[in-house]
């Protein structure tokens, strides 16, 4: 699909022509790169999953068909095969796990799972109070708490995770039992508990090291994400606030409401239109915030790095001072300084009443401008380090060949810097898509959209700050989950596509 010119033609182009040509190739490649997610990545993943599933059932079949009674017994009582083959320690662990799991399911998990279908069943009950404060025929009812839908959802998901873990452990028990049988048949030595433990510091050492991170990842990242995804299919909102009310499954209704409107408690707010507007602004913001910082930071670094510039250390120190002040302090100060009329010191000094942060268009420029001010030192710092590492003889020989400063920049400096910083540029871009701090502290997302049905969204709101408002002010948890799922898809696709197409990844070994 890509129309490429021959090497000779390419070399014959002017500098600008080459740039345009490469840019064209890049953008022309984007749809294909996007499609490759579906044509390459997903089939690859599907094959892997299929392989795993096949392996799972194949192992079970083999163990059933070829296993002796000990192995077959393991299907019902975990650890039998190990016990019978004197691998007591293994046997105890599998058996203990099975007993604990059954106990958990009987005492707690089963009940939670049965509530999961409706996310709680018992509503709050009101019962008559008994008190000598009440006189005559006065009566009053007090509330007796029912199921808390949030906890039901939480324990339901936990129980499901345990079931998956149990199935895996059960499978592992059969596999290991069958392996022990095969070793025994081959008259080979079965590892003892002591030997098993030794491998933990040796052949299995990587697993020992990864336990901590894995547990952390599951508890703090994967579990909350699963919880959030489930929330997107519930009506957890301002009218269904647990623990007083139960919330329940509503299927794809929240997704429908995003595009067609009609969410309870939000009047005629048009989430779809607001989402579109904010998505556009979020992308524009991310592009500007990333590239202005990058280009300007690089220019500043190059200027400071130039031979003949005096007090280099002083300039760098001054710029780095802005890093030393916590970013939120600078941003809050800036937002105060840029306030309207007499309230903002900048307007007072200029003797004007410029609506820096309250005019819809100007506010967008202002946040980008302030972000440049906060962000340049970081790029400068990074680029300075790279610049100082470019071998001086490259420039020297270029100069002898008669290259001017501009040519040297485009031929030596830029490729070098770009090569090293491309991954960080991408992470910056994705970070800016979700740059909560700058927008929230500077403009708070304001000014309000003047459009009817904007549901309280502001002109400079990014999707992420809008999400915050939906959760914090409007308690639309279900809708907020839907939006965060869409945001996740967006950022994941952008990062995957751009990252895989960046030179740094393609030609990793090219680094000079």
């Amino acid at each position: 699909m890509e129309k490429t010119v021959s090497q000779i033609d390419y070399l014959g182009m002017s500098g600008w022509g080459k740039f345009c040509y490469r840019a064209r190739l890049f953008f022309r490649g984007l749809p294909a790169a996007f499609l490759s997610i579906f044509t390459v990545l997903i089939p690859k993943l599907a094959r892997k999953v299929w392989g795993a599933v096949k392996g799972f059932f194949l192992t079970l079949y083999n163990a059933m068909a070829k296993g002796d009674w000990k192995t077959r017994m393991s299907f019902a009582v975990m650890g039998t095969s190990q016990f019978a083959r004197k691998q007591v320690m293994r046997g105890i662990m599998f058996l203990a796990f099975e007993i604990l799991f059954i106990l958990y399911m009987v005492v707690f998990g089963g009940a939670q799972l049965s509530l999961f279908g409706t996310i709680g069943r018992r509503a709050v009950v009101e019962s008559e109070t008994v008190s000598d404060f009440l006189t005559g025929d006065d009566i009053r009812f007090e509330k007796i708490p029912g199921d808390d839908s949030r906890l039901v959802l939480l324990y339901g998901i936990l129980t499901m995770i345990f079931i998956v873990a149990f199935v895996y452990a059960w499978y592992a028990n059969i596999k290991s039992g069958f392996a022990a049988q095969q070793l025994e048949e081959a008259k080979q030595h079965l590892p003892t508990a002591k030997e098993d433990f030794k491998t933990l510091a040796d052949a299995q050492y990587h697993k020992t090291l990864l336990v901590g991170p894995l547990i952390g990842l599951v508890i703090f990242t994967i579990f909350p994400i699963i919880f959030m995804i489930f929330l997107a299919f519930t009506n957890y909102d301002v009218n269904h606030m647990a623990p007083d009310k139960l919330f329940t499954w509503v299927g794809w209704k929240n997704f429908q409401a995003l595009f067609a409107g009609g969410l309870s408690g939000s009047g005629g707010a048009r989430f779809g239109v607001v989402f579109g507007k904010l998505l556009l602004w979020t992308v524009i913001w991310a592009i500007f915030a990333t590239f202005t910082n990058y280009i300007l930071g690089m220019i500043v670094a190059i200027i400071i790095n130039k031979k003949g510039i005096r007090f280099k250390k002083l300039w760098r120190t001054i710029l780095i001072m802005t890093i030393a002040v916590p970013q939120f302090v600078s941003l809050l100060l800036m937002s105060k300084m840029l306030a309207d009329g007499q309230l903002g010191i900048i307007n007072v000094l200029l003797g004007t009443n410029i609506k820096w942060l309250t005019d819809p268009t100007l506010a967008k420029f202002t946040v980008i401008l302030v972000n440049i001010w906060v962000g340049i030192p970081f790029t400068m710092l990074m680029v300075t380090g790279i610049l100082m590492n470019i071998p001086a003889d490259l420039y020297e020989s270029a100069r002898i060949d008669g290259a001017g400063p501009v040519r040297m920049y485009f031929k030596i400096t830029l490729p070098y810097v770009l090569h090293v910083t491309a991954p960080s540029l991408i992470s910056n871009f994705v970070g800016n898509l979700n740059n909560f701090g700058v927008i929230y502290l500077l403009s708070g997302g304001g000014p309000n959209m003047s459009m009817s049905g904007s549901g309280g969204a502001g002109e400079t709101d990014l999707l992420i700050t809008w999400l915050y408002k939906l959760i914090n002010d409007k308690k639309q948890y279900g809708m907020a989950s839907v939006i965060s799922i869409l945001m996740f898809l967006l950022t994941a696709i952008i990062s995957l596509v751009v990252y895989n197409r960046s030179k740094a990844v393609k030609n990793e070994e090219d680094f000079m």
Partner: protein, 434 residues
């Protein structure tokens, strides 16, 4: 080996969570109410704002001592938690919230939907009605029941002004006030571009808005903002909206709330401000002997040339009793005590909080407070701010922002008002998926 290893981890995690799970389950059981004896006193927790802590503690002590004489023992703790924070805390967990908390009357629908409010008995309501105006008792009315003990009726706005800048005979007309201020080089401070204030002109002209609730849900929204008052060719929304658009373009106008008021006082440009009793101390100190306050002036529409009144919202603060309180009846007893006239007077003297009692409103000490007197005068021209869905604030806020830069024709304005009314009155029934 790997298998066993995984089994080990899973085992540990399982054991840990089962423990947490069982513990969590056990915690949800309810303790029984206390007996109120010396050995087992009623345990109550009260939330109040930071500035009222001292006063609240004194009142609570008084209550405890009084009740002890009747042989009822209380153990009451007071914690700092203002109205907004209280609502936030109760939204996520009403069960572990305080037994008694203060709230503003427009929060009632939200608090009700969190299950945080316990209703008053008929007897308790009639006791309140003996001492307070009907509209004030109605602050606590929601879904056919009364849910709070009003201790103040101070949530409304009126006009503060600089005596030296505004001529006394001009106080009735907004136009005259503005031209006086422009001549004096002073500013008229008003947050016209925010949801709370922007429709005040329209309400003055006769606009109405009502959200009808069924449970926590809005069943229907009624408003006449897009309709015309009799004898006018413009709608309420047009009249009120045009006034805001004209006002923000006036050279004497300055947008802003308390930050702007302080700044204007410091820079000596304060001419007049539309705000509530909470600004009284700041403005009094800033203006010195030129400090004055009165009700809102009338305004003349540039559309039909007629003069209309300018309305304030009217609301107040109440003590609510948590529906999940363990000592529900004891908590109601304390809440009723906290709104008695004597306690209201203490609150007025210490914090300048406008009392809700009929008798105290006519009290010479209360009337001698300039801001409070102006506020009470304004209350005759006000609309009660009832429970409103979030969509009201969102949508009217968007309209207010739109008005800030509006300079088109009356037809364009009407089109925007129509849009607003459509959004406001759209109601989605709450039905879970089949």
């Amino acid at each position: 080996m790997r298998k066993r290893f995984i089994a080990l981890i899973a085992c540990g995690a399982l054991a840990a969570t089962s423990l947490v799970g069982f513990a969590g389950c056990g915690g949800s059981g309810r303790k029984n109410a206390n007996a109120g004896t010396q050995e087992d006193p009623y345990v109550l927790k009260v939330w109040g704002s930071a500035e009222q802590q001292e006063g609240l503690k004194q009142m609570v002590n008084k209550f405890t001592t009084e009740k002890q004489k009747d042989g009822k023992y209380f153990n009451i703790s007071v914690e700092v938690c203002g109205e907004d924070k209280a609502k936030e805390n109760l939204s996520t967990d009403a069960i572990s919230g305080a037994d008694i908390f203060s709230f503003a009357n427009d929060q009632i629908a939200d608090l009700w939907s969190y299950g945080a409010l316990s209703p008053l008995t008929n007897k308790e309501v009639s006791k309140l009605a003996d001492r307070m105006p009907e509209s004030t008792v109605n602050f606590g009315y929601f879904n056919k029941q009364y849910y709070g003990y009003p201790f103040s009726a101070d949530n409304g706005f009126f006009m503060y002004y600089d005596k030296s800048a505004v001529k006394p005979e001009h106080l009735d007309s907004l136009d005259d006030i503005l031209s006086d201020l422009e001549a004096a080089g002073k500013k008229f401070l008003f947050e016209g571009e925010t949801a709370w204030y922007t429709l005040s002109f329209a309400y003055g002209a006769g606009a109405e808005y009502e959200a009808i609730y069924e449970g926590a849900d809005v069943k229907e929204v009624k408003t006449n903002l897009n309709k015309k008052p009799s004898g006018s060719q413009y709608s309420y929304g047009q009249l009120g909206g045009k006034m805001v658009a004209d006002l923000v373009k006036n050279p004497a106008y300055q947008a802003g709330g308390n930050d702007a008021i302080s700044a204007a006082l410091t820079s000596k440009t304060f001419g007049a401000a539309i705000s509530g009793t909470w600004e009284a101390d700041t403005i009094k100190e800033g203006l010195g002997e030129n400090y004055a306050a009165t009700d809102l002036p009338n305004w003349k529409s540039s559309l039909d040339g007629k003069t209309y009144k300018w309305f304030s919202f009217a609301g107040g603060k109440l003590y609510g009793v948590n529906g999940y309180s363990q000592n529900l009846e004891a908590a109601h007893e304390l809440a009723a005590f906290l709104v008695e006239d004597e306690q209201q007077m203490t609150r007025f003297t210490a914090n300048g909080i406008v009392p809700s009692s009929k008798e105290l409103a006519n009290d010479p000490t209360v009337q001698s407070n300039i801001a409070v007197a102006a506020f009470l005068k304004q209350m005759d021209n006000s609309v009660v701010q009832r429970a409103m869905p979030q969509s009201y604030w969102d949508e009217v806020g968007a309209f207010a922002t739109w008005l800030g830069t509006f300079s088109g024709t009356a037809d364009e304005l009407q089109a925007r008002v129509d849009q607003m009314v459509t959004t406001l009155t759209t109601v989605t029934p709450v039905k879970p998926a089949a």
